[in-house]
Assembly symmetry: C2
Homo-oligomer: 430 residues x 2
């Protein structure tokens, strides 16, 4: 008898919930032992993995995937070693579960302890890179969460084998390894996600990773909490009191060091007071990096007056441009009448991800830090630092621009919840 | 021109978002000054409040509200003084915003600070008690959040006047008081809530308070995060190694001290090993408090053998009873074959609210504390302590059984989010 999609997803989620209870009981040593065994198994079975991946690559080629897509899909020896290294790094991190966040003893002697716990069952939805399967599974496992993984259909052969290698290695390493700790949604139907994200009795959290369209679709249909960021429209504001050399270095880094990532700058705001001097300098530097500039009229006038050689690639910035994540060598440049206008622009058009002020004036910096309503706000530093590794989290499963639950880079600690323990000696309430 | 419901709600939420930005800028002294002025205004305008409340009571009487409902609706001098006292208590609490949770300095010198921030715009939906209007507004205001309040339609006159007294007092006290910091949804249509909770660009959180039906309806329709608890099905487990005198005291307190609240016990689990001795004792004590007992066959046999006088009111417990929040002097009593079965029962039938083990055996207590997946888990203490006041939070806006965001009693700190500040000296990413 075939199960309906609803029945399949319910069974998957129910088994995940049950596995989560077992996972919560594992010691750090047991978890780390499994992670190391998983890493070893991925390396040992690299030839099988490359063969499974070849099936995905072949099908992708037939389906006309772009070269960039095929490259993301590819698993070679280096990427397999990268997955194994990731699992070993997670094993080396402290256990995020059971950490005491707070303790208070009440007048009646009741001792209250706030301690971290796993979240429970986490659904992770992602696109083409199969290495996410190992990364996400490892982080969820270490934090005591059962993972339900839904990768892109173009990576199904690869993802299926990675997941089964991880589970087999866990079971061989540890008799009590919960067989449903790591599960992959294998059915191709899109409807599977909607079914899964309606199961509030089993699923505790969903984390979609990928393009804005995917994330909006997930957030729209989910009945369980979703932690996400839609896009990264990040800003650098060069204040009137900026050190201009520092400003230029930060602008170039934030735009050009890796333009395709979410913490790259999309809009440069410059205080009018220093525009005459600074705009030509920064336009020249950005042009040398082949950055197209989408400017307002005031900035255009200054650039044109400077008659730079080579001439910058100038376009007129539209309202819509200010909302756009280019992920490319394109930058909006807008002049503002001071700090307040910069803050208003960022809170209006930004994505609440990462924004930076360059200034030597501490009181203006403090106001920017307080009033820009973003996950990470910088003073005299590049927006590019919003990243689990750069924050020293050791590993990252994503970046959140939400305000309920984790905000900013999410590592192991951000995959935990907490509970209150009340330790008494017979206390009752009067 | 009349605005459509969608336009009305969008305008309300947009104004709240704008007010939230202004609120985030207020100092602690400014906020506390406003709260004290609001308290004073409520007391000063008590006669007006009682008159507005009389309109609600009259309409409620005509509509056939129960005596209990009318009592909850009533605002008398004592309750008005209670609202004022609540606002003064909130003013006396520390500012939850701007607290540094963590600091780390990276190898490149970048200083990262994790600091608390307001959440933004919070929608609070509640039922008949008009005093919630002042309590919720005060807690949101102190934590820098704009409040959109939706009380029961039966309390509309009272709620409308309370909200306008608070806003008028705030504006008179402080020139920069954001006029839309505290808003009331006045339109009676239910559809208003659905409209409001679709506005993810403006609304950051919804907290429904009230019966399970209301909360499920809100959670079902909301596109914004919801923090809630559906019900409180709380347990006490009397372990084989319990101090029986302590167990009896905790059982009586958890069931009888205030049966109508969410942290009261609904099911008593007893280890079979001590059932013969303990069940008659506890049945006698509960019967003296007029508690109806819904028992399994094994417990029934023991109670009947004991031939208690007066005879307990015994019923057979059904499967459904184990899921039920009675809010009344009714208790399920079930015998279990030890700790594991108790934990499984609680995780299966409970509501993840508050559960307690009574035992002198530390290792069994530790296992219970670790494996019971509830917001508050007690060892040798009554479940009745899950409460903002008892936890020392100073004030409470609700209790959460969710795992994303706050869990357990929610006070001011639980009404905050956080952001990362990155303080640099020109750092760029290599």
């Amino acid at each position: 008898m075939t199960m309906s999609l609803t029945e399949q997803m319910t069974e998957l989620a129910r088994q995940a919930k049950s596995a989560a209870r077992d996972l919560a009981r594992l010691s750090r040593a047991e978890k780390d032992g499994c992670l190391l065994a998983m890493a070893e198994a991925l390396e040992r079975r690299a030839p099988e993995l490359e063969a499974a991946n070849a099936l995905d690559l072949e099908a992708g080629g037939r389906a006309g995937l772009s070269t960039a897509m095929l490259d993301r899909l590819k698993l070679d020896g280096k990427r397999i070693a990268g997955m194994a290294r990731g699992l070993r790094e997670v094993a080396a991190l402290p256990d995020p579960v059971g950490r005491q966040l707070e303790e208070r003893v009440r007048p009646n002697g009741l001792r209250l302890q706030k301690v971290t716990t796993p979240i429970g069952v986490i659904v992770i939805i992602y696109e083409s890179r199969p290495n996410v399967t190992a990364d996400a599974a490892g982080l969820c496992f270490k934090s005591g969460n059962a993972a339900i993984l839904r990768g892109g259909k173009e990576a199904l052969h690869s993802n299926r084998l990675i997941a089964s290698i991880l589970v087999e290695a866990g079971r061989a390493q540890l008799a009590g390894f919960p067989a449903h700790a790591i599960q992959l949604v294998q059915t191709p139907e899109r409807e599977a996600i909607r079914e899964l994200l309606a199961l509030t009795q089993y699923v505790d959290l969903c984390m979609p990773r990928g393009g804005e369209g995917l994330i909006r679709a997930v957030a729209e249909c989910s009945k369980v909490p979703v932690i996400k960021h839609y896009k990264g429209v990040c800003h650098v504001f060069v204040d009137a009191a900026a050190d201009l050399g520092m400003a230029e270095a930060i602008v170039l880094n934030a735009k050009c060091q890796r333009p395709a990532v979410c913490n790259a700058m999309e809009t440069l705001l410059i205080d009018r007071a220093l525009a005459d001097g600074f705009v030509p300098v920064v336009a020249r530097a950005l042009t040398a990096q082949r950055v197209q500039l989408r400017v307002d009229a005031a900035a255009r006038a200054i650039v044109e007056r400077a008659a730079l050689d080579p001439a910058p690639d100038l376009r007129e910035a539209t309202e819509q441009d200010y909302y756009t994540e280019y992920n490319d060598l394109i930058l909006n440049v807008r002049l503002v009448a001071g700090l307040g206008e910069a803050i208003d622009h960022i809170n209006q058009y930004g994505s609440a991800h990462s924004d930076s002020i360059v200034t030597q004036d501490e009181s203006r910096a403090r106001r920017f830090l307080a009033e820009v309503d973003s996950a990470a706000v910088y003073w005299n530093a590049s927006t590019r630092f919003t990243d689990g590794g750069e924050f020293g989290l050791g590993a990252e499963i994503g970046i959140s621009t939400d305000k309920i639950g984790a905000r900013g880079p999410m590592g192991l600690e951000e995959l935990t919840s907490y509970k209150w323990l009340g330790l008494g000696t017979g206390q009752v309430r009067r």
